[in-house]
């Protein structure tokens, strides 16, 4: 979220092009500061006899590991495996969370009955489901997708319900007055009205899913970014480990940026979104 960018844009001091350039400059500037801190920390570790064994955590060795890991296909295969699990988990979360959120937002008795069980289940750590998931699902992939889905469903569900609660009830009255049937009400009025909130929920869910994915892949599976990190740790390939951490951060950042674009695309709120 780029809070700092908002006032300048609202104030109308910058053109859209200048605004985009300014955002890019901020992003590159922030990342450069992070890289410098990492570089210094790496050099300090290299110069310390006690920490010298870990100097491959530094920026230089990490950057050197990328071409090697890319040419061996390690990054691509790990990303594909994790991406599949993440995508399936998020898809399930959206397929379950959006309809349930619509029910919670539209039907009072459903909201009243479901609130306590939903809050109860929501507070269970997703990783606490791991032993049950392993028993229930025949594959590790199935277990991990389930863990991601159960962690990611709540932001989607509650954001959808909250979005619906904010909808002007008169929009439904007008639509009924103009002859909308229930399906048209859903597709032409409800979904466009809450698309912004649904995508905001999916954005939050992505963060949660990404957090759950990596530790879930530490256990059992033999593919994915989490597995690759664990494998690098066990083989003492610390530069590979940090390269994978950077990859995870980069993928997460790109996915989040895509969702921010979608939120903006579907937002009808004045003053921008996200």
């Amino acid at each position: 979220m780029n809070f700092a960018a908002t006032p300048a844009r609202q104030g109308g001091f910058l053109s859209l092009g200048q605004y985009a350039l300014q955002r890019l400059a901020w992003a590159l500037g922030g990342l450069s500061i992070l890289a410098v801190i990492w570089l210094i920390a790496g050099q300090m570790m290299a110069s310390s006899p006690r920490l010298a064994n870990y100097s491959t955590f530094g920026l230089g060795p990490t950057l050197q590991a990328f071409p090697e890991m890319w040419s061996s296909g390690k990054i691509q295969s790990a990303t594909l495996a994790s991406g599949y699990r993440l995508g399936m988990g998020l898809l399930l979360a959206a397929l379950i969370g959006v309809p349930l959120g619509v029910l919670v937002g539209r039907i009072k008795w459903f909201a009243a009955y479901s609130n306590s069980p939903f809050q109860f289940i929501r507070m269970i750590s997703p990783l606490a489901w791991m032993p049950i998931a392993v028993l229930v699902f025949s594959t590790w992939d199935g277990s991990i997708v389930f863990l991601i889905a159960i962690a990611a469903v709540w932001p989607v569900l509650f954001a959808t319900a909250a979005g619906l609660a904010k909808v002007d009830p008169a929009w439904f009255k007008v639509a009924r007055n103009l002859g909308a049937n229930p399906l048209q009400m859903l597709t032409k009025i409800i979904m466009p009205a809450i698309a912004f909130d649904v995508f905001s929920g999916i954005r939050l869910a992505l963060g949660v899913a990404w957090i759950v994915l990596v530790p879930a892949e530490y256990l059992g599976v033999t593919s994915g970014l989490g597995y690759a990190i664990e494998d690098s740790r066990e083989t003492l390939s610390y530069n590979h480990l940090t390269a994978l951490v950077v990859t995870i951060g980069a993928i997460g950042y790109v996915l989040d940026s895509i969702l921010v674009m979608l939120i903006k695309q579907f937002s009808w709120h004045r003053g921008g979104a996200a």
């Binding site: 639509a175 103009l178 032409k188 698309a195 009808w268």
Partner: protein, 266 residues
Amino acid sequence: MSIRGTEIKIEGLSQRYPTRKVPTFNRVDLVSPPGEALAIIGRSGCGKSTLLHILAGITRGTEGRVLLNGTEVNGPSPRWVMMFQAPHLYPWMTVTENVGVGLTFARWGKKEIAERVAEAIRLVELQDFAQANVQDLSGGQQQRVALARSLVMEPELLLLDEPFSALDAFTRAALQKDVRAISKRLGFNIVLVTHDIDEAVIMADRAVIMAGSPGDIVHEMDVDLPDPRDRTDPEVQRLRARLMATFQEAANYKKPEVSLAAGAGR
């Protein structure tokens, strides 16, 4: 755009809520001929808005019925369309999309929608804003979009629930004149609920006054004035004064005890 009016018949219409002892209104009868612009005037709480919602099919009366050209009103229909106090436009749609939304619900073809919508937008003089985001329009322009959205359905009856009360005086006056002119040109009925005497005089062919508890139609008056009507016209002012006096008289109206007691005894 070809629209014709409808004969409105309200027969013995009552509305009571389980939580209230006194009905909102009790056995109301009213007839309005095709093409008439009828104003229902009354203070807040007299049941005039409830009556309008029943006419629109949004609410059901507890007794009695409403007939439009002999068809009983049992629910909302594009044949009888309501305009509310606020325009309630869909902010994710352009002006054109908002105006055509009812036709989309009715599954019209894209070409037919485009033609009909363009005509409705011309009618409310918003051609220059056809592709605009409705959030960029002024309050008056937004209410014009809501009017076009109703007119595009070619309704026989346009129900107006204090539709211009949130607008500034100049915009309100312009819209009152325009809506009346359009209704006379196209021939549809208007039922207007208002507590603004000026609005009733400028827009209606006949005004009925609702008062009492339970509400009832206690007076009615023909607004027999030539078009276009101007507030400064002495005839308009004279009729306004008469309607105001009748309205004030009605404010002190109490339904005869006898009929209530007789009703309660049955």
